[in-house]
Amino acid sequence: MNITVTVNGQPCTRDVEPRLLLVHFLRDELDLTGTHWGCDTSNCGACVVWLDDVPVKSCTVLAVMASGREVRTVEGLERDGELDPVQKGFSECHGLQCGFCTPGMMMTSRWLLDRSPDPTEAEIREALSGQICRCTGYENIVRSVRWAAEHPAEKPEEVTP
């Protein structure tokens, strides 16, 4: 089946089987291996990407369901070569050890901060509660998200057309 998914702003057209999962479409068809494939049961959250501006677990979404929609992956977090504050926060606060859960953690964190720019620790833990860090590095993950909240990206100046 022919599908076109806009991934990180780029329309990508491929011929796929309907049973292909979005996580494998991203990794195997588009070589976007930043999205990790973990538990396969929608428990661990390693595979979280945005589907139309909302984080979802891509091991439990069919690629064909994303056709005609927008997907954002960890590769799409940076802007013009500048890392997203969430990425900087994970770097500054040692928010990762093995790094397997990190892409999913960061995608959900960005979504949280867009909705709630100054979240409490409890709000961060709640937002990330569907994601597992098997290094158990949760303390530093929460600190990383707080760091990002305290160091928001400078908004580009509004240009009047």
Binding site: M1, E17, P18, R19, L20, L21, H24, D40, T41, S42, G45, V48, L51, V54, P55, V56, K57, T60, V61, L62, V64, M65, T108, E126, A127, S129, G130, Q131
Partner: protein
């Protein structure tokens, strides 16, 4: 790597189109929306539909609205949308209580209200919440539309009255003191409150047990009550015997405790990896009492 078996994929954009596709593909077709129950089952070959009909674009099913004195929740409403809906929370806080403890925020972004009800897992939360509220389900098929009380919706574990070829459209909950009648015979207004209490082993897990309570009060007495239970094999996810204890009573700690005791007595929990039966039975009673206490508090707020 877990991958579903092959299937034919169809995308519907309207209810009519969905019903036509269901008719064309017959008994082996399944409707998919969030897919968070169906796709894991397909990976494990516990389900192997020959065709999937994707209803994610059927916008008419994705609305929460008030119509005819009822709160109507479309089958395609995502869990996160019900949790974020001020109108749902204002009238029926039990829905927000329940949604807050269903799976996790990312799963709630994708999973749908209708999908959870039609999956009909015996530990599902919304079945108990909607059961407590005495909601009804609107189902459409080739022969037209029918409305079924949620208390007749489930026919067993993973089984509902939705037939092959039919589609769950929405859930309707009467807002009894409001427009459209259904208020107390005196012509006044009910005081209403509702709440949901759940014990889970870890965040996002299925409940060991959970209870929902809804109270409608008039003149200092309980005019009507709804008790929902899940994960404890309560028939149709409700506890009518406990509701009988409450009806006509003056609300008190003693009455709430007695309703809890009766609810616990009439369910039939089994022992499994989540916990032993006697503990679940204890929870069913205690959580019923707590939900009633909180529902009553809200009715007086």
């Amino acid at each position: 790597m877990q991958v579903p078996a092959n299937f034919e994929y169809e995308k519907a954009t309207t209810v009519e189109e969905t019903l036509a596709l269901l008719a064309r593909h017959g008994d082996e077709a399944r409707v998919v929306a969030g897919g968070h129950s169906l796709l894991p089952m397909m990976k494990l070959r516990l389900a192997q539909p020959e065709a999937l009909i994707d209803i994610n674009d059927v916008a008419e099913l994705a609305r929460i609205r008030i119509e005819g004195g009822m709160l109507c929740v479309g089958a395609l409403v995502r869990h996160a949308e019900l949790l974020d809906s001020p109108v749902a929370g204002e009238h029926f806080p039990i829905l927000h209580d329940a949604e807050r403890v269903i799976a996790d925020p990312v799963v709630r972004n994708r999973g749908t209200v209708g999908g959870s009800l039609c999956q009909a897992d015996p530990s599902e939360d919304l079945s108990a919440a909607f059961g407590a509220l005495k909601a009804s389900a609107v189902i459409r098929g080739p022969d037209g539309e029918r409305t079924v009380s949620l208390r007749e919706f489930h026919t067993g574990p993973y089984e509902t009255v939705v037939e092959p070829g039919e589609l769950l459209i929405e859930l309707r909950i009467p807002i009894r003191p409001g427009v459209g009648g259904g208020g107390p015979p005196s012509g006044g207004r009910y005081q209403h409150g509702s709440a949901y209490e759940k014990v889970e082993r870890r965040v996002g897990d299925w409940p060991l047990a959970a209870a929902g309570a809804a109270l409608w009060l008039e003149g200092g007495r309980i005019a009507d009550a709804g008790i929902g239970l899940t994960a404890v094999r309560a028939e149709h996810f409700v506890a009518p015997e406990a509701e009988e204890v409450l009806r006509g009573a003056v609300p008190s700690e003693e009455v709430f405790a007695e309703a809890g005791r009766v609810a616990a007595e009439h369910c039939d929990p089994g022992s499994d990896q989540r916990g032993p039966a006697d503990y679940k039975r204890h929870l069913a009673g205690e959580l019923t009492t707590r939900a009633l206490r909180r529902a009553y508090g809200r009715s007086q707020a």
